[in-house]
Amino acid sequence: MGYKTVIGLEIHAELSTETKMFCSCTNAFGGEANTHCCPVCMGLPGALPVLNKKAVEYAIKAGIAFNTKINTKTRMDRKNYFYADLVKGYQISQDTIPLCGEGYTEIEIEEGTKRVNLQRIHIEEDTGKLTHTMDGDTLIDYNRAGVPLIEIVTKPDMNTPEEARLFLEKLRATLKYIEVSDVKMEEGSLRCDVNINVVDTETGLKTNITEIKNLNSFRGAVKAMEYEEKRHIDTLKQGQNTLKETRRWDEVKGETISMREKGDTADYRFAADGDLAAIEIPEEWVNEIRNSMPELPHHKKERFVKEYALSEYDAGVLTASKALAMFFEDTVKLLDDPKLVSNWVMGDVLRRLKDDDVEIEDTKLSPKDLSQLIALVKSEKINNNTGKKVLKEIFDTGKDPETIVKEKGLIQISDESQVREIVEKVLEDNKQSIEDYKSGKDRALGFLVGQVMKISRGKANPQLANKMILDIIKEKY
């Protein structure tokens, strides 16, 4: 018995333009309630929308990044519905002719490269923000009303929650790379809805599609999909079917909850918005935008493999974030040893970023610091372990490595006579370990090196200590 999960995603991303989509109100996040509002975005009678050129340009950039066909003739449509987050009783969106048509992107799954096809990318305005109070009221802030959005709709090409996560990661990295959106889920500049159902591969029976809304983190999205996947399979196993409905993810309960059945499918009565004329996108403009596109993650990855002789995997990790890729390249400019820099970045630096849940640009570590630190280790002024401690100190205090090493007296002892003195003392005090080593217990050697490091307070050069222990045992014992 096998089941195949089918997942499609709809992602809304706020475009990081200076102004709103159809008026010159600021598109800054937050601000005091209802202070970024004007007759246009408040839908006051007689106000006329004028399309923001930058918003169209950003959407085209996204379209190019996802290999879509740019429709050079398009238009805006009205999507009619009544809800308090909408001032006009309709949202200005796109229906039959989206700005960007079909496209695709690729994700790296265990079995290799997988293509995820896009249905479309269209432009639309965001709605106001509702806050439900404890007193049973709803407060409305229209600062967000009219903020430019792109809606990216995939085909149902993902078959596991993990594939959906990889796609979302790819999408976020790409939008960040081309600098068209802040893609911060916690600030709501990236929002994701999921369509999911399950097919019994033997009988061909399918469950009805569930739409999951209110997902405000990638982790939440994955958990919600895993939950739904199981719920759909269980339903099929019981010989039943799921309802075609919208559910929301409840982070606290760790389950999805039914919002409304889709039986009364919303009828949005789309119609061309007569306040806005036809939109024509000159070919030359699209070409201009295409030529001004920054290097995309997968191109950067290929270049890293060639230029720095890194493995596919390492190059993939380093280019997953634009800031991290830049940090790596800036460090290599200062210290021409890509493999070594990559090891440090992929190891201790990334671990720290993960532990603190921050991006490299939000830390106190600069490429200059890291290059200095690696140089200190490379020239054996400090040993590898001390290097790790210094790195932690830089993250904590922002001091440069030379200063930290000086202040803490961490310079490695590579002076043979000094190390010899310590080694001789350690051997004298640990005769049993020498016997153990001689009788074939290699671990005893590690213990002896450890003792040398301990007495030197981590400053001895461990390779030197190791060699010296062997030499002296041979000579004396």
């Binding site: 200076e18 102004t19 309630a33 209802n34 509002c37 109070t133 709803t138």
Partner: protein
């Protein structure tokens, strides 16, 4: 033929209420209008470029430069209830 039920459905989507008599009238008128539209199907449009917008005007764009917004007092001036600068309404949950 447009049915009374269809008219009722459209009216409810628009949050409009009509009397039985009005709905009958609408159903009749709508059917007539759609009947005229049926006539268009008789035209041979094989060699005509599809229309994607009603008028010939082409959208001009606005440069992305921040201008002035309204004062908040003016934004919330016409609402029946305001709190902390927000529009306040009875709680709604979708």
């Amino acid at each position: 033929m447009v049915t009374k039920e269809q008219i009722q459905q459209i009216a409810s989507l628009c949050k409009l209420k009509y009397t039985e008599g009005e709905i009958d009238e609408f159903a009749k008128n709508f059917s007539q209008v759609l009947g005229y539209m049926e006539k268009l199907k008789e035209v041979d449009a094989d060699n005509v470029e599809p229309l994607y917008f009603i008028s010939d005007h082409v959208q001009r764009f606005r440069e992305d430069v921040v201008g002035e917004s309204l004062q908040r007092e003016d934004v919330v001036k016409n609402t029946t209830e305001e709190q902390f600068g927000y529009f306040k309404i009875l709680r709604i949950v979708e």
